[in-house]
Amino acid sequence: MIRFSLRGLASRKLRSVLTALAIVLGVALVSGTYVLTDSITKAFDSIFQTVYRGTDATITGRNALDNNASNVGGGDSRTPSFDEALLAKVRALPDVKAAIGGVAGEPHLVKNGKAIAFGGAPNLGFSVDPKYPQFSSLKLSKGSWPGPNQVVVDTGTAKHKSIHVGDSIGVQAEGPIVQMKVAGLVKFGSAGSLGGATLAGFDIATAQALFNKKGKLDDIRVAARTGVSPQRLVNQIKPILPAGTQVNTGEQQAQKAADSTNSFLTFFKTFLLAFAGIALFVGSFVIANSLSITIAQRTREFATLRTLGANRRQILRAVLVEAFVIGLLAAVVGLFVGFLLAKGLFSLFDAVGFTLPNSGIVFEARTAIVAILVGVIVTVAASLRPAIRATRVQPIEAVREGATLPETSTPRRRFIRALVLTVLGFAAIVYGLFKPGLGTGGVLGWMGIGALMVFVGVALLSARWVPALAEVLGWPAVRIGGAVGRLARENARRNPQRTASTASALMIGLALVTLVAMLAAGIISNFKGAVNSLFVGDYVVTAQNNFSSLPVKVGDTVAKTAGVTAVASVRSDEAKIFGSKDQLTAVDPTIGSTLALKWKQGSQAVLSSLGEDGAFTDDGYAKDHHLHIGSPVSFLTPTGKTVNVTIKGIFKPPAGGSPFGPITISSALFDRSFQLPENMFTFIKMQGGESEANQAALERQLNGFPNAKVQNKSKFVDNQISGLKSTLNILYVLLALSVIVSLFGIVNTLVLSVFERTREIGMLRAVGMTRRQTRRMIRHESVITALIGTVTGIALGIVLGALLAARVDEINFSIPVGSLIIFVVAAVIVGLIAAIFPARRASRLRPLEALSYE
């Protein structure tokens, strides 16, 4: 029987290939994700190994908010700094051969008045000490190491922006721009690229001044005397450490640093794999449908096998072997397509100027194993139902004209089963959404399982409404195509189950796309509402990338602009409040002139009278923690300081959120409590409101801060949601892959239908249908099928979106009509593309086939 299956596959090459294509994309996405993330992980590992080269022990500040893990020592300006006096003590220890102290920050290099940035890559800056080359991860490739008020820049940035040794370049970190001489160009030690990050090195005093860390250090790196183990060195350092600092071996430190990037990469990987899963799920629909059709067409063949003595198990095995081979081939092809996909992505990111860290493509055995297993399992699982149907073929069908495949159960029972599945699916979604205390994983899990059940259930149910939907959605086809359009519509209706299955693959993609569009529209409209109800000022200053923080001096500087009547900044940092890490914000006393809050307890006057111990909170947080006016709240800062405040007001934030964390204090208190206060937003009110002159005046005033961006209210809204919009585009691209898979499904069904209707199409050609009309007929059928999937998908997406909107306050129920119209147009295009190949095949059938085909 196995040979029979293989022969059968070989003789139906086209059909087998078309079926396999549906699974190739999903598998490619799986393997591509693994290759991409493995490669980036390896690149980061090698970067951190280079960074901690020659280091036996590292001393860093300890973030009081973290229980054990430290942040990346010296790489993160948010880790508390410590007094530089420690360095001398460390150097005095008997087993220490050498030690250097360093500070780090995020300086912007400024050329011709513009900050240099590549995509979203960070700007890394740190102190370098040429006296201790053994610790250095940088190699000087031109010029010399930096002296006071000098800088070294990485060769990549220098090349892109034509920076040469001896040039003068602007550097801006915590203060206004400082002009520095470029002393030399450096190369990062490891072979790979650092991504699009810019590197800047300074001598220690310059770096401390730039980063506002005079007399402080972010890390001390220690090398042990020969024969002293890193652990012994660590043990020796421990007793002299002041509070708020910690020591790790160099190896541990590199590992910790790598771990912190790995947790992001793990998220990234899970995210991509989820979309691969969706594409595979859609692919399984396509496979199941294609196999159902081919098996139906081979009813007589199975019956003949049965008359020749094959038993049911052999028939089952024959079909499953066929599916296995298809799955295996598709998986192997998908595996390599994924490999190319990952390579392509590296080049793509490179081309748009956002180089990913790369030290060669990593191809792990795990990637191949998972990809092939997934491809084979999905295909074989999808083939189970058609395979079981094939076993029900009676031997007598071998001698019957027009024998059809027996159904596995009665229509009524199938209907009830589909209905139960759909209802259970919705129940799971509702449970996931509304059951309190499930946690993110629980909510997503219940929703995911529920959505899968709903998709399968609706796909099975939709055969019921396909005839009616085809009637309605076929109307344009009939209007445009006349008799040909009517034939197309009837063709779409004649086998509702087949059309429903084909359309369902597209339905899944469209439902998800609609859901995403709805959520985005809901969030955006809520956000706009929030800004409109809160903001009563004229301008907002944020960082160029809309989310980084800016030095406090930005607020002070902009306040000096002529015509400014009020300036108020919002600072933000992390703190531990009521035992959990949360955002803590702070406001200037003038904030009330730029933001109008709705107060549940207290009044707008609270904003200007927070003083040294006042705080306000929002109604939700107040309810959760039973806070009233007068309630005491204490919080812990990253440097380990405990601060006590009293609630003076409770406000009600709009549905779209507010710029505030759960607890907000005065900026005066904030500046004394946190190591490095920075502004998230600076709100400005001016005489004359929004005007070109005012905008220009503000921009002129902020000349020294190239990373600051002045924007009016509507620009601010646009900028804040631009991040959401790019996220939305990424989601669209990823979901488009599922739509492409379903496009293959339509191609497949049409090719099989054309094959099945050879005689019919031949007859139509014989009685006068032209080739063009034949193509048009197939195109119309394809578009009708696509529209059925689209309309069902959009409807389902809206229902799912409504459920989410009912649960999540930040999301407004709003139907993005514009986007939906685009989706419908896109679906028509998908239908037209899917029809190209089948239509050509149909039009090439010769009328003679009507008479001779049997």
Binding site: G482, A766, G768, R771, L848, L851
Partner: protein
């Protein structure tokens, strides 16, 4: 082929009778020679013109009826006209329906019709665009004897009453007996011709040819 007459084409399997008909009907192209229909050499036409020629001037009746299962009888009959974007002449439509005795079956789908009824729908479909010539390929090949009789009668009457030109390929001597003229083919050659034959005459010739 003579205009207004019924020509039968006979011959053993493989004699080329189907090929002849396919070429005559513009479904296939000859390697040599020409086919003229109403003064047009149809072997020189491209696919589009040939399709239009078939649509406007040629009617087909197939052995397996070849009706579209999702259309009812009336829609099946009007299909070629609909494809051409034309409406049937209602007087002629009524006349054809009467001739084929399908008046009470117009809204039935093929699956609700007997074989004979289905073939009558197919004939009505072929007659409705008033073809210059109607080709019938084994029209009774898939029918029982009483239905066969009905169909043959119908074809004969279309010749007698409306002057329809018909070319019928068959290997059934009783069917062939309704022809005005019969062409016998063997190995792709015309070997015998007969006018106003009886079924016995035909059987005789068939035996003779088979015996050679």
């Amino acid at each position: 082929m003579e205009r207004g007459r019924l020509t039968g084409v006979m011959g053993p399997s493989g004699s080329g009778k189907s090929t002849l008909m396919h070429i005559l009907a513009g479904l296939d192209r000859p390697t040599a020679g020409t086919v003229e229909l109403d003064g047009t050499d149809i072997t020189k036409l491209d696919d589009d013109r040939l399709t239009k020629l078939r649509r406007d001037h040629i009617g087909f009746v197939f052995q397996f009826f070849n009706l579209l299962p999702m259309l009812d009888a009336r829609e099946n009959m009007e299909l070629p006209l609909a494809i051409a974007g034309e409406r049937p002449d209602s007087e002629w439509f009524d006349q054809v329906v009467e001739q084929t005795r399908l008046g009470d079956r117009l809204t039935h789908r093929p699956s609700e019709l007997s074989g004979g009824q289905q073939q009558r729908v197919a004939i009505a479909r072929a007659l409705l665009n008033k073809p210059s010539v109607l080709f019938a390929d084994e029209p009774t090949g898939n029918l029982d004897s009483s239905a066969s009789g009905e169909i043959l009668d119908l074809i004969r009457r279309s010749v007698d009453e409306s002057g329809q030109t018909v070319v019928m390929v068959t290997h059934d001597p009783y069917a062939a007996a309704i022809a005005d003229r019969i062409l016998f083919l063997e190995d792709g050659r015309l070997v015998r011709e007969m006018t106003d034959p009886s079924s016995d005459d035909i059987i005789g010739v068939m035996k003779e040819l088979g015996a050679q």
